[in-house]
Structures are given as C-alpha cells and as structure tokens.
C-alpha cells in the first residue's frame, strides 16, 4: 500500500536533501564577489551614456514644479517612482574593498547616522567626533523613509527618476545628482536643491533623503559602495 500523500511528500523532502549537492562555501563566496566585479565593470561601461541622459533630465526639471516636495514633481498617493535609464558613474578610485557593508574607509569616517526627527545627518570620524552635520529632509508621514541600517549599493553622479501615475495621470522624469542608492529597501540619498527650505526643518519627500547639492557631493565623495548608513 502507498503511504498517504502527506507522508510521501515529507519523505520526498528528505530524499531530495540527501541528493542535494553541497559545494565549498568559499567557492560560493568567490562567485558572489565575481558578480560584484562584473556589476562594477558594467557601471563603468555605462558612464558615457549617462551624460546624455542627464542633460535631457535637466530640461525636465525646469519644466516641472521645482518647489514641490519629495521627488519634485506632481507625485500623488499610489504613484510609483522608478529610476529609469540609470546613468551611473565610474566608481571613484579602485575597488578598494569588496566586502559589503564594511565601515566607511575614506576620510576617516566611522559612522553615518540620519536622524529623521531632527532632519540631520551626522557623519562621525574615526575618533567618534562629529565630522560634519548635514541638514536633510526625509519622507513625510504618509511616505515615511525606511529606517534601519543600509548599505550603499551603488553610487551614481547623475540619474533620471521617472514617475508614472496610476490611471494614466501626470508622469514626469527629473535628473538627480550625487545619488547614493541604498540596499535592502533603503531610500536613495541625493541632492534635492528644490527642497532647500526643508533641510534641517521638516520632512517633505516621498521617502528619499535629500540635502543640498554641495552636501550631497561631499557625502558622495566620502562614501564608497558597501559603506553603511543608519537611518532612524
């Protein structure tokens, strides 16, 4: 007699586990590091196209309402913001470290913390002294910024953000500069000159973290892909 289906499925799990191939974990890790290296090469290759996209994007920025919150456009509830045609830059400098989430390595930075209540980003030096405090703006109550500790997944000097509205409403695309894209569902951190009245004052974005162009450029230069940023 056959066992019941439940029992047969349970036995199937065990039997397939016994047959499963196990490789050396170090081999798997080295494959993961190869993916990173390949990604980095792709980013370099795309730099040239990036400049052209950025020019188009600047035109769009002027055409839309630069004083509105968040992504600086007519974004409504339920809209989605998707970065398209990313125009990544070459990562600055050689790939000095391949580990993800390692502590920041340049300029003696140890920690970067965004405080959404005070609307500030505090950058700590190696000696735990405050190196720089940057006024920022984060997501509104209805579009809160994700909190947690995130990793800089990629850096892009210019990129184009485009938004499509449900029900075929307005859509727009804007160019943004000095973009740090965070891993694990974290927000993007970039220059939002159109939100200058909000930095250090109130949260007025649709979830991303904005700051002045000068501060965003400084931060971009300090952090490498793989560095961590804590948002709370």
């Amino acid at each position: 007699m056959h066992d019941t289906l439940d029992e047969r499925l349970a036995q199937l799990g065990g039997s397939l586990e016994d047959a499963a191939a196990v490789r050396s974990p170090s081999l798997v890790r080295s494959r993961g590091e190869q993916i990173r290296a390949a990604h980095r090469r792709r980013m370099v290759a795309m730099t040239a196209t990036g400049a052209a996209v950025a020019v188009i994007g600047v035109g769009s920025l002027v055409a839309f309402r630069p004083d509105s919150g968040g992504h600086a456009g007519p974004v409504g509830p339920g809209s989605t913001v998707t970065p398209t045609a990313p125009a990544p830059t070459a990562p600055s400098g050689p790939p000095s470290h391949t580990a993800v989430g390692a502590p920041p390595t340049k300029a003696g930075i140890s920690t970067v913390v965004v405080d959404l209540k005070k609307d500030t980003m505090t950058v700590y030096g190696k000696d735990q002294k405050v190196l720089k405090t940057i006024p920022v703006t984060g997501g509104t109550a209805t579009h809160p910024t994700r909190v947690g500790t995130f990793t800089v997944a990629s850096k892009q000097q210019h990129m184009t953000l485009s938004t499509t509205m449900p029900q075929g409403g307005d859509s727009y695309s804007i160019a943004i500069d000095w973009v740090l894209q965070l891993d694990g569902g974290g927000p993007q951190v970039y220059a939002m000159p159109w939100n200058s009245s909000k930095f250090g004052q109130i949260n007025g974005t649709h979830g991303d973290v904005g700051m002045s162009t000068a501060d965003a450029e400084w931060l971009y230069d300090q952090l490498e892909t793989g560095d961590g940023i804590t948002i709370r």
Binding site: T4, L5, R8, A20, R23, I35, R36, G228
Partner: protein
C-alpha cells in the same frame, strides 16, 4: 565570528533544504542546483543586508526561484556556471518514489506546485506561504487543496481527503 564563517555556517546549514525545495519546484535537479548556488552567491554579495533579515533562507529560496522563472537568463547563467564550476557535483540517484513525485509535481499548475512545496517540503505555515508568493491566505488554501487533488490524480490514487478525512490548512 567573522562574516565569512557566519555565511559559511548559513550556507552549509541550509543549502540541502533549499536545493530539495527547488528540485521539487523546478522538476530538474541540475537547474535547481545552479539556481541555488547562484542565489547563495548573491546572498554573499549582500550579506550584511541578508544576514539581518528575519528569514534569510526564505530570501535565498525566492531569489533562486526567480532566477529560474526567467528562462533565457537561466540558459545564459547555466552556460556560465558550467564553464566556471565544470559539470555539476556528483548527485546520488533519487529514489524511484522521489522521481515519480517530482515528475507528478511538474504536471500540476505552477502556482499549486509552489504552494504544495512550500507547505509540505519547506514546512511553512499557510500564512508564510501566502507572504512568500504574495497571494491571499484563502487563495493559498485553495491552491493547496486543488494541488493535492491534482497530484493524487496524476499519481493514480484517491485524494487524501477520501482516506484521512478533510485536510485542514488552517
């Protein structure tokens, strides 16, 4: 513990289970193996994020499954994986009943198969299955029930419900 040790422990502790689940989901041991190794490589690539997740094993399983769902990508990646690793590691033969069950699972609709594998092989609750596949709990229950009936039919035996009374997925 170093990050490497941490990852290695995670890999060695979970790779057999995840591979078994992917074999049942995909119906092909070689493809499942490739997808799983690739998913673990990606987990290491972003280990600081993945290791802090509530369910890193679930992350690897979902990533492996998505890798395979897109077939042109899988074909490319398989070529790369073979070049890199050589032929797949020596795989012991599956038992005749396993072969029959995996073949039967391939014949039922994909959504039902996924629900059955996650519930019966991965040991998730109905709620966890619903969260992983992104469907309502009621839908998952229906897929489980229909999937079991379809599976029983393919295997040429009466559905369990007739033998054991109504199966509850509560």
């Amino acid at each position: 513990m170093s990050r490497e040790q941490d990852f290695d422990e995670f890999y060695l502790g979970s790779v057999r289970k995840v591979t078994a689940q992917l074999v049942a989901l995909l119906g092909d041991a070689g493809e499942a193996d490739d997808a799983v190794q690739e998913a673990y490589a990606r987990a290491w690539q972003r280990w600081d994020s993945v290791s802090r997740m509530d369910d890193p094993v679930g992350w690897v399983r979902v990533v492996a499954y998505r890798i395979k769902v897109s077939s042109w990508r899988s074909a490319m990646r398989r070529t790369v994986a073979h070049r890199r690793h050589g032929p797949p590691a020596d795989v012991p033969d599956m038992s005749p009943d396993s072969v029959a069950l995996v073949a039967a699972l391939r014949q039922i609709p994909e959504a039902q198969r996924r629900a059955i594998v996650l519930f019966h092989l991965a040991g998730l609750t109905v709620e966890q299955v619903a969260a992983e596949v992104g469907s309502p709990v009621g839908t998952v229950k229906a897929r489980l029930s229909r999937g079991r009936a379809a599976l029983a039919q393919v295997l040429g035996e009466p559905a369990d419900e007739d033998v054991k009374g109504n199966h509850s997925y509560a």
